[in-house]
């Protein structure tokens, strides 16, 4: 059978989505695909483009890579512009003379930034904001500029302004209309947004029409406005809307809309049935959709039509929620109230700087639209009310008033949502999908995320998804029993609060007052860890020793044959030759299997219980202290060599790593904690795979939280940028103590963060903005814990009574006769024993 040949022009987000969707069709083997793109690289995430400026490497923005295309036999031609389409012969021609034949042609050419026709708009430092290359140009230009202007006060314009501000420029926004974000916001909402942005140091000039751009007196350019005023600037970024790339379609006489855009029908066909158009170049029902979600929808519809399905495009919701220059903004449906008979409710809180507006139908029963500025917590709820046409409560104004009682039921119960309600628009996950996932056994957010992908895109739906999950669990009679174990009817968090506030110092007194039975191997180590996090007493004290997991109980790591491994602390992975030799001598004397760890330390295996004190005596004499490799505690801070040695380093990462390791060493926590410090964005210390990652920037340090390697790898999330040393340590103090206070037992920071309602934004509000008013306490708790630090091995060696336990037999000096070894690659290896 002859294969159908599909040619896709444009490899942006939508073009790539088309290919991705084709590849998961059962009939994919009947097609061949070729994509031609004028950009130098395959599709990348344009939505996250601005993160390029906060140090995200291009590689992380990529949506795909060449290997994926090669493995799936998708041909791709980059850096090549299509200049003509021959509809009759079904061929496309490119600038370098290539000719591709097609059966079906997909136009995914996207759009380009509109540059207003202003005299002088073509000068070297007049730029646009659309592709990675544009951003690279802006970055270069910013290095030679002090002042930057963005022309355009819409959504993209404000994003560009944020970028300029982050590049350290004095930033201005010039808007032609009398308000910002005229499409999404009304006058009051826009005025508040303007005030808030101005408070952040960005100047806003509304109602300004630029006449020309000439040479400036104090800066590179002078922008003359029609009202006679002027503004001087060193660079200009135009972001005044987008225009569809429809040149190709025009030149081959496809039907084009009056104001541009390639006209398509409900299955995304253009006026030539063999040519489809999808994404921002396409015009459906006289509308262009400048968001990625409708573009993806069009890609799915086109794939469906080509492979014999019957999906239709029926328009798209243009509601949006985003953070502009740190200000939360949301806009839903008919935000302006253009619908006949529409009525409005609005709420304005000047102290908290929050504005909300609801547009409801004449009957007062249905939500038609909404505007949120300063607080978008209600966005998901309102969007669901709007999308699903759910009846509003008797007095819709309730929806506007912030609820101060955390325990009060949400105004809109998720039970009111139909199963088809789309909760996660990024990954098209419906309420029904979440219910299905719960039925199949997912009972926490982490499980829901990995099974449905919900909340893994922008994360805006996480609160709603959690509500649906909780409600579904309750309905199925699954009481989410989060009691620690049968001995304590409390969560770990509740026990932390009890221990902290009641100042309880021992397991026995906690059990007596708040528990029952004798305890077990779940609650004992958990409580031991909490006691240690807050009071930091020696963990082998008589009242604590029986609580410790075996690793903690003997201050070493139990291995499969009953022997232990020993890991001395090597802060930041920096070690002198003498210390290295000292470790070598110990390993040699006791015949220990020696291996370098992933955390830049050295692990010595095969020590018998009775050998541990003598091994540690020698290590401590050589200047080492315990590495806490045995504890659910702060383990290591990995580092690179930073500015001292590296040609690329921008900060002294090694010294910072050593300082951090020294500060938090041995801090006991719900699970182990690993950290790393990298001296530049090349990230040689792999900080983004750590619980706490620090990456140097020209101006200071970027702080990342919640990374993990291991079984469920997760890249850490950027928490804050360009911090000075003091702020960096202050934030880490608070984050760690908040983690210790609120995480579940054995919950790594990655899962903790994923399960946190409100995610990284909430964590930021607690740690940076002190929303809960606990930052002082968190810092004090850390200071107290650090003040009580001790090297547990040093303390143990000083106490002969404690050393008694470090023998295999209490009544004999014989070692365990079952510790027998063979040799492999010149080192010992345990041999299996059978009884």
């Amino acid at each position: 059978m002859k294969l159908q040949k599909i040619v896709i022009i444009g490899n942006g987000m939508v073009g790539h989505e088309f290919i991705r969707q084709m590849l998961i069709q059962p009939s994919v083997s009947q097609f061949t695909m070729t994509t031609i793109s004028s950009e130098p690289r395959l599709a990348y995430d344009r939505v996250q483009l601005s993160s390029f400026f906060s140090g995200t490497p291009v590689k992380k923005l990529m949506l795909t890579d060449e290997n994926y295309y090669k493995e799936n036999n998708v041909n791709f031609i980059l850096n090549e512009k299509v200049i003509a389409i021959d509809k009759d012969k079904k061929r496309v021609y490119t600038t370098s003379g290539l000719c591709e034949v097609y059966d079906k042609l997909i136009l995914a050419t996207g759009s380009y930034p509109f540059v207003p026709p202003i005299a002088g708009n073509d000068q070297p430092h007049c730029l646009v904001y659309r592709t990675i290359e544009d951003l690279e140009r802006i970055k270069v230009s910013a290095e030679f500029s002090k002042i930057g202007v963005v022309v355009g006060g819409g959504l993209l314009g404000l994003e560009a302004a944020n970028a300029l501000k982050n590049l350290g420029l004095e930033t201005h926004v010039v808007e032609f209309a009398p308000q910002l974000m005229a499409i999404q916001l009304d006058e009051s909402g826009s005025a508040l947004l303007k005030r808030k942005i101005e408070a952040l140091g960005v100047s806003i000039h509304i109602d300004k029409s630029t006449k020309d751009i000439s040479t400036g007196t104090n800066a590179r350019y002078r922008m003359m406005f029609t009202d006679g005023s002027h503004l001087e600037t060193d660079m200009i970024v135009f972001s005044a809307g987008i225009r569809p790339y429809d040149e190709l379609a025009r030149s081959c006489a496809l039907e084009i809309g009056e104001r541009g855009g390639i006209a398509i029908n409900n299955v995304c066909q253009t006026s030539d049935p063999n040519i489809y158009a999808i994404g921002e170049c396409a015009l459906w029902n006289k509308k262009i959709f400048g968001l990625v979600a409708p573009g993806y929808q069009m890609a799915r519809v086109a794939v469906s039509h080509i492979t014999g399905g019957n999906e239709q495009f029926s328009g798209a919701d243009m509601s949006t929620k985003l953070k502009l220059l740190g200000v939360q903004v949301g806009s839903i449906g008919d935000a302006h109230g253009h619908t006949t008979g529409a009525q409005c409710y609005s709420f304005c809180d000047e102290t908290e700087q929050v504005y909300k507006r609801l547009v409801v139908s004449g009957s007062g029963k249905k939500l038609l639209g909404a505007i949120l500025v300063g607080d978008t917590e209600d966005y998901s709820n309102l969007l669901q009310l709007y999308l699903n046409g759910i009846d509003l409560p008797q007095s819709p104004e309730q929806l506007l008033i912030p609820s101060h009682d955390l325990n009060s039921a949400p105004v809109l119960g998720v039970d009111a949502l139909p199963e088809s309600a789309q909760l996660c628009t990024c990954y098209s996950v419906s309420k029904g999908d979440i219910q299905q996932a719960v039925l199949q056994g997912c009972c926490d957010m982490a499980a829901i995320k990995s099974s449905t992908s919900a909340s893994t895109g922008c994360g805006g739906c996480s609160a709603l998804v959690k509500q649906v999950m909780d409600s579904e669990l309750t309905k199925q009679g699954i009481t989410v029993n989060n009691h620690l174990c049968e001995h304590f009817s409390y969560t770990r968090q509740a026990l932390v609060d009890i221990i902290r506030i009641q100042k309880i110092k021992t397991f026995d007194s906690l059990l007596e007052k708040y528990g029952k039975g004798l305890g077990c191997d779940i609650c004992k180590p958990t409580v031991a860890s909490i006691l240690s996090s807050y009071w930091n007493e020696y963990i082998l004290k008589k009242e604590h020793v029986g609580l410790q997991d075996t690793n903690d109980a003997f201050l070493a790591n139990l291995q499969k044959n009953g022997s232990y491994s020993v890991v001395p602390r090597i802060p930041g992975g920096e070690i002198t030759p003498d210390k290295l030799i000292a470790i070598g001598n110990v390993a040699k004397q006791f015949n220990l299997y020696t291996k370098i760890t992933g955390g830049q330390r050295i692990d010595l295996f095969g020590a018998a219980l009775h050998q541990l004190p003598e091994i540690w005596k020698q290590l401590i004499d050589a200047g080492f202290e315990t590495g806490h490799a045995y504890g659910k505690a702060m383990r290591t801070v990995k580092s690179c060599v930073g500015t001292n040695w590296c040609r690329y380093g921008v900060q002294d990462s090694t010294s910072m790593a050593i300082a951090i390791e020294d500060r938090y060493k041995g801090l006991r926590s719900p699970h182990k904690i690993k950290m790393a410090v990298s001296g530049c964005t090349r990230e040689c210390a792999e900080a983004q795979s750590k619980d706490i990652g620090v990456i140097a920037t020209e101006k200071g340090w970027n702080l990342y939280v919640g990374g993990n390697g291991g079984m469920r790898p997760r890249h850490a999330t950027l928490f804050a940028s360009d911090l000075d040393n003091q702020t960096l340590i202050c934030y880490i103090d608070r984050i760690l103590m908040f983690y210790i206070r609120t995480a579940d037992r054995l919950q790594r920071t990655s899962v903790w963060l994923e399960n946190m309602e409100g995610g990284i934004d909430y964590l930021r509000s607690v740690v940076v903005e002190d929303k809960l008013g606990i930052c002082d306490v968190l810092e004090q708790e850390m200071v107290d814990c650090i003040a009580n630090y001790q090297c547990e091995w040093r303390t143990t060696l000083e106490n002969p009574e404690r050393l008694k336990r470090f023998r295999h037999f209490i009544n004999s000096d014989q070692p365990d006769s079952n510790l027998i070894y063979s040799t492999e690659r010149d080192q010992i290896k345990p041999m299996a024993i059978e009884h």
Binding site: E486, H487, G517, L518, G519, C520, D521, C523, K524, P525, K542, V545, G546, L547, Q548, D549, T550, A553, F554, L558, K560, N561, G562, K804, R805, H808, F809, I810, N811, S812, Q814, D816, N818, A832, I833, E834, H835
Partner: protein
């Protein structure tokens, strides 16, 4: 080895053997204070490794074999003790299976069990029942 009943912590029948620590039916293991409260230790008795636990909260001492038949290592004495559904258990430090201290039976896999031994504590000494 046969299953035996464990006995109570204090036994007044053993005054005669206190001084020389020998007895016809009971063998001396160690001093009671050698076992930290609510914790375990390992003793060697006639070439066997025996794990002793001082369940201080209920004033009892229990003895089971120190060999973990699942993890295949001599580590049971280093486990954490506690209760699961009111059964007194020790959790293996290797893979955390729970063994009933009174019967030796593994809760997760009842086909597997530890040996159990009869223990007496008199004054400050721990004794094990000798076998004929």
């Amino acid at each position: 080895m046969s299953r035996l009943q464990t006995t109570s912590l204090i036994d007044h029948d053993m005054t005669d053997c206190l001084l020389n620590k020998t007895h016809q039916t009971w063998g001396y293991l160690c001093e009671f204070n050698d076992i930290p409260p609510n914790s375990g230790i390992c003793v060697s008795y006639q070439n066997q490794q025996i794990a002793l636990f001082n369940v201080n909260t209920i004033k009892k001492v229990y003895a089971v074999s120190n060999y973990d038949p699942i993890g295949k290592a001599n580590v049971i004495s280093r486990g954490i003790i506690g209760t699961i559904n009111e059964q007194l258990v020790v959790a293996s430090p290797l893979f955390k299976q729970h063994f009933n201290l009174k019967t030796g039976i593994c809760i997760e896999n009842p086909k597997v069990c530890l040996n159990i031994y009869a223990i007496r504590v008199y004054s400050n000494a721990v004794w094990i029942k000798k076998y004929p």
